[in-house]
Symmetry: D2
Subunit: 258 residues, 4 copies
């Protein structure tokens, strides 16, 4: 079955009376024995998670799930209002907002951490260089700053605490802390490591590639959006949101007045 | 803050140094203390799950996550191939397949279970009546039959075993088993309760509304699709899939030949 | 090439130096010779449109393109704000709102028109019966009523005028007008045939199946959403919309106050 | 109405008996008077198109609509098979493939054209410099090359012919032709200007911004995908595609065999 020279999958197969995921018997070895978090870790990475892997991924998914009435949530609620027969469309609509402007900075932060932890000049020198490059380009520092949490994003130390309590090597946590000192020095004020930056660091501690990190945000947010759909069903807000937005962005043309 | 007569949310708020989800402090009470499954249950239903709730939701999410190269997965892999910079779009694309033809039968099954467990004539009579109605309409019985698993879908007894081991009342499990006997009798052969039907029954045991059940499938499948993206990154199949489909569905017009 | 017993396509093929769509040479017979509207009509229906087909489809697409700050548009603007690198995701997000609650009534209206124009009892009797059934079910009459346009939706007579000016048979326009008289009689007041109902009638005049009508709304709305993205780029509203919605739907829990 | 300091829209407003789009009366000035192409041009750019604008946009939309069984189309057909009740989801699914790998090169080509037509050293020198930079980075040249059309993409000269016949200035067409000569020289062989590159050039001739060009591809492809849904309804291929892909990408694990 595996002698094909073409593409193959290692994810799933089935027989008349069994299913296998990553070569584990779904019914006998996984259902009732692993949590959803353990299952997705096995599925995505190909290895059964250890305690640190599970603790960190759970903490990351718990952290990213819900942030109030965000663009994602507003899209989902309005689409659900328009097409309640297709709940999957409402969730998909909101997930499409998991892009460069918010969650995408996680990947940029991870790439910086990958570079500074392997730089021949050492982390400190490399960190200062990265900060300088970002300042020169007049761009925001990925993984730093939060418009609402000051002086510090409270999720960041908690993520680091959970990771360290489970005995991760700590390379990337130390690296982002070094980067944080370089940021504070360069900007002449304290700028917090935000939850996105902290998530990048702790996921790197357990070997998650930067390019797939956004996937964890998407999974977590899917659950958050289902929660908003459940609330929208019980106490609708979409019609009010719609009316309010129409007034908030009025027509500025000449016609159709009075 | 709550005296508005307009819509309100009970899901999330934040202060300078804290976030609250469902009135729990995210950092102090949730991160590092609850699993992702517990977090989403709290978020979606408004109550902290007990052991049975968590065990059943975990089992459901583990069950639904992965089924091989399904339409969902093919869409996600091809969209990822075309737009790898937008992982969220690839996941959204596949999630849009979580519709009436496969997962949607979960809701129909749940509605039948809701009706027969509250029918004044009792479950047995009501079950026979439902089966007759479906047969008269020449439609498939929601939650029954599987094109691949014979004689029985192996996930079904496992889901029931997990639910019963955690002491659920068992009303809906018993109801779908009664329905199963009515199905076998009416069709003159054994037709398995499939995983979709079993999921409907166990989610009803813990009070999940039929209208929101599809949400759990969407969350679970989101993780499954991220797993396929990770595999697609490591060993691409999309180009081969595309080429194969072009040959599988040839042009049948007169022009453009040899 | 066509002797396969499997599925085939009649839509497109290509050679080293040509492409064919519906057996027409794209470069020689279509580009520069047909409008986009004619091209899509050929593609979707398989026949080159006559003047009435083109006039009606153009009028329908022009009618449905833009309606201000609708749920669709709000979703698109917010997703574009979050992921501007993926314009296609922003458009897809808004299109997901083209569902049962607004555009979907077009199909229901079309199905009613199909039934009453083929009823053995004649259109008038059948129309009264349909109205009675909708009233008995306490549902809104598909294709009738508009929350903003009173006494009449101005687009409706224009669509009928355009269709009649191009010599369509008029069967379905007459049928929806008969239905309108039955509606007014049953409800004891005038309820307008809305644009959605009128679109259903004129598309039926040119042989478009009810099940594919929603597709024209999707195409038209895609253009409308691109217009909103262009405006969002030039004068952003998403951040203000987000802030306003957060205030409009306040947190109603106990925590996180003051 | 326009004195707000907040965001405003110039796109649409309505009164009891009229709608206005871009300050034109929808019913009196647009329906029955403009084509869908003219309507979208007005909506997106804010100005009523001239003959050249309409001819070029029509040609672009006709060109990009359909390319056979592409990733986009496969996603749409499979999602439609899974959720036929939500046609909008099937179209959205396929549109999500309109990303960086195919259509996105249009924007990159447009940016190169913008640079070389404003370079102080003149188009020829700037073109050679751009080609060198792309070669040094070992990337494909945006807007050049086609895996199937050789030696030339037949759509390219047709797009230029249509644009020139309508009297456009020709700056960007000349620039991409200059770029083409630099490409051929640098690579030592002829590489065709492909349709994507040609579309970028002709859209620049009529003042369409690079950042919005992808929108025209999205609109056009939406129509193409509706055509595939119509064909899928009449002669289904999704089940065969699914079965074929399962065989094409076999399971490579140890379990679940024979």
């Amino acid at each position: 079955m595996t002698q094909s020279k073409g593409p193959v999958t290692h994810l799933c197969t089935h027989t008349l009376d069994a299913l296998y995921v990553r070569d584990r018997d779904l019914v006998e070895e996984l259902m009732g024995k692993v949590t959803f978090t353990e299952m997705m870790f096995l599925h995505i990475t190909g290895r059964m998670p250890g305690a640190a892997d599970t603790a960190i991924v759970d903490a990351v998914l718990v952290t990213l799930m819900e942030h109030g009435l965000t663009p994602s949530v507003i899209a989902t609620r309005l689409v659900y209002h328009s097409a309640p027969e297709a709940l999957q469309g409402a969730v998909a609509s909101g997930l499409l907002a998991v892009g460069s402007q918010f969650v995408g900075t996680m990947e940029l932060a991870a790439e910086i951490l990958a570079r500074i932890t392997t730089d021949a000049d050492g982390v400190e020198v490399a960190a200062r260089r990265e900060v300088q490059a970002v300042r020169d380009a007049r761009r925001p520092m990925p993984g730093f700053g939060h418009h609402m949490h000051k002086p510090d994003d409270p999720r960041t130390p908690k993520l680091f605490e959970i990771a360290r309590a489970h005995g991760v090597p700590g390379t990337y946590i130390a690296a982002i802390e070094t980067l944080g000192r370089a940021v504070d020095e360069a900007y002449g004020k304290h700028i917090t490591i935000n939850a996105t930056g902290a998530v990048a660091a702790v996921l790197m501690e357990i070997g998650i590639e930067p390019e797939i990190m956004r996937g964890f945000a998407v999974i977590s947010r899917a659950a958050g959006l289902v929660g908003h759909i459940a609330e929208e069903r019980a106490s609708p807000s979409a019609r009010t949101i719609w009316d309010t937005v129409e007034k908030t962005v009025p027509y500025a043309g000449e016609k159709g007045k009075g």
